[in-house]
Amino acid sequence: MSSVPAKQEPATGDTPPGPPGAMLDVRDLSVTYAADRGPVVAVDHVSFQVDPGEFLGIVGESGCGKSTLLFAIAQLLAPPAAITSGQVSFKGRSLVGLTDSQLAAVRWKDLSVVMQSAMNALNPVRHIRAQFADAMRAHGVRSKTEIADRSAEVLRMVGIDPVHLRSYPHQLSGGMRQRAMIAMAMLFTPDLVIMDEPTSALDVVAQRSLMVQIKELQQRLDFAVIFVTHDMSLISHFSDRLMVMYAGQVAEFGDTRELFDRPLHPYTAGLMDAFPSIRGPRRELTGIPGSPPNLATPPPGCRFEPRCPRAMERCAAVQPELYQVGGTDVRCLLHEDGAAHRDSTGEEKTA
């Protein structure tokens, strides 16, 4: 379950399969943008695996590279962005370098994507039924009855009355449209669904009910989910494992509850501390002052160092690797080699 990056040769075509059981194997993935002033590495050597039926959350703020990572996995990157190293294997087969027609066999059947503001991705001048039919016909389903039945079934799965198949998108509320997009992603019961901030455009109550729905569906149909969001408190209730990204790199990665109870990376700790509590004692918080680094000229050492309340002298010069502490990976010199160190209370902590 850990993801220590090994030095691997990036390869195309069929790769030896990853660890048995892993449905998605991302290794050493890097994405670079050809910007005006020089190349910008938006995703820097990210590795992780997703097991069947697992709910993986990817959390980070704007500019951390989480959306770019998602696009790279789904092979949706377009120039000026491109994958410059690493490997993405789905069910043992590499996705990088496949042509569109080869990808089409995988897309939507085994792997589907729900984008941010997907509710705006619906064609405003056609009703829902037509759009579902389009998607199914594009993947070889011809029979009208089958299309109609399946459309109604997936709508019911997300809690929408199938009578809405006849509606136009503007006749549905924002929450319903988002559910419709998720239903569309379910048409072929894929094994992996990738979601990019599907709830961020919704109000708090609709957000929560949609999350519950997704989790229910996932447990019922047993598909894996990669869920990208900036809302850490929301995802904490639903994900099995959580990956925190910062400035294009993985900062911390491990079991969700572990991460929340004992955040190892100062960024994770700072992030959690930046959420004022709605219940519990009221106290003054500091957030994380400062801004993420400019990825066109990343700093020589740790990328979080300028904002880190626990930075040491070496942090500005040495780039931390991902170290393993128990079941969690953390990119921080404080946990180098799982060595013993003292935290702020003076207690000694070992790996």
């Binding site: 929450g175 109000d203 708090v204 900036h230």
Partner: protein, 341 residues
């Protein structure tokens, strides 16, 4: 509304609205309908206090901000600022003076500053308009002062920058600096942190509390996020579908919510430190668009406690405890209100 005068944090009402209402006509020539964006909202804001106006989209909170900033004219009702009615501010001098006393800070840090000019432009213009007695050097000194107060240091350097050279959080601080330069009594902040990264929000919320303490400014903090409202506000007003659902001291309202909608909002607000207790039946509804509404409580369709009266009579705000009011028939009758969570 029941005229229980709410004791505010410091006694005097800086701003008071009386049944403020704003409707919009929608539809075409054939079918005219009226959208009730804000209905009969009576609220008060005292000196040196932060009042949070919380609600989801469509609740009317942004419309209230614009009514108070005199961007919209009310359909009916009145707003009193320092005792004087806003409708009486007709002359350009009056309106200018009011806009200096109650300036607005906008939500989108990328759209609320003119990208063509340096960030000093807005502040200096504001000073020129509202404090004409200052000389050019004094204006610049004042611009530097307010930039320092909001934490944009070194002020001289930041003043010379263009908006695209600043981060979202910095741009929002510029918005507050612009407001401060006019020596306001009340800042109308329309979702000032919603579009910022989470790690930056706290810094701005702390700054807002500091403005209240050190500059003596009141702030109307409009938000959809109850947690941040709790963090920074003295009093909390919860809106639903254009009407006030509940209002009172922030801790009191959140600790002892009496309106079922407030309870729903509380139960839906995620808190990472709370245990994983996600219920299976969660309310799925969304706030209604209030078009030509019939009388009755607008929350009745989603409320598990709705009684007959809720379908017939629109509830008014009634006092639950001193300072704490809720517009709910069930709560009014003193019954134990435990709808959600």
């Amino acid at each position: 509304m029941t005229s229980t005068s709410e004791p505010t944090a410091n006694g005097t009402a800086l701003l008071r609205t009386d049944k403020l209402t704003r409707h919009f006509r929608i539809g075409n020539a054939l079918s005219q309908q009226t959208l009730h964006a804000v209905d009969e909202v009576s609220l008060t804001i005292g000196e040196r206090e932060i009042v949070a106006l919380a609600g989801e989209s469509g609740s009317g909170k942004s419309t209230i901000a614009r009514l108070l900033a005199k961007i919209y004219k009310p359909t009916s009702g009145e707003t009193y600022f320092q005792g004087k009615p806003l409708s009486g501010f007709r002359s350009r001098a009056d309106r200018l003076r009011y806009s200096g006393l109650a300036p607005m800070v906008f939500q989108d840090p990328f759209a609320s500053i003119n990208p063509v000019f340096r960030v000093s432009h807005g502040v200096l213009r504001g000073l020129k308009l509202h404090r004409p007695e200052l000389s050019r050097d004094e204006r610049y000194a004042e611009a530097r002062r307010v930039f320092e107060v909001v934490g944009l240091t070194p002020a001289d350097e930041v003043l010379e920058r263009f908006p695209h050279e600043l981060s979202g959080g910095q741009r929002q601080r510029v918005g507050f600096a612009q407001a401060l330069a006019m020596k306001p009594k009340l800042i109308l902040a329309d979702e000032p942190v919603s579009m910022l990264d989470v790690s930056i929000r706290i810094g701005l919320l702390n700054m807002m509390a500091d403005l209240r303490d050190s500059q003596g400014v009141s702030i109307l903090y409009i938000t959809h996020d109850l947690a941040s409202a709790r963090y920074v506000a003295d009093r909390l007003i919860v809106m639903y579908a254009g009407r006030v659902a509940e209002s009172g001291p922030a801790e009191e309202v959140l600790g002892n919510p009496r309106h079922p909608y407030t309870q729903l909002l509380l139960s839906a607000a995620p808190d990472p430190r709370a245990p994983l207790g996600v219920g299976a039946e969660t309310d799925r509804g969304e706030p209604p668009k209030v078009i030509d509404p019939a009388p009755g409580c607008r929350f009745r369709a989603r409320c598990p406690l709705a009684i007959d009266k809720c379908h017939q009579v629109t509830p008014e705000l009634s006092q639950i405890r001193p300072g704490h009011q809720a517009a709910c028939h069930v709560a009014e009758e003193g019954a134990e209100v435990k709808a959600f969570g």
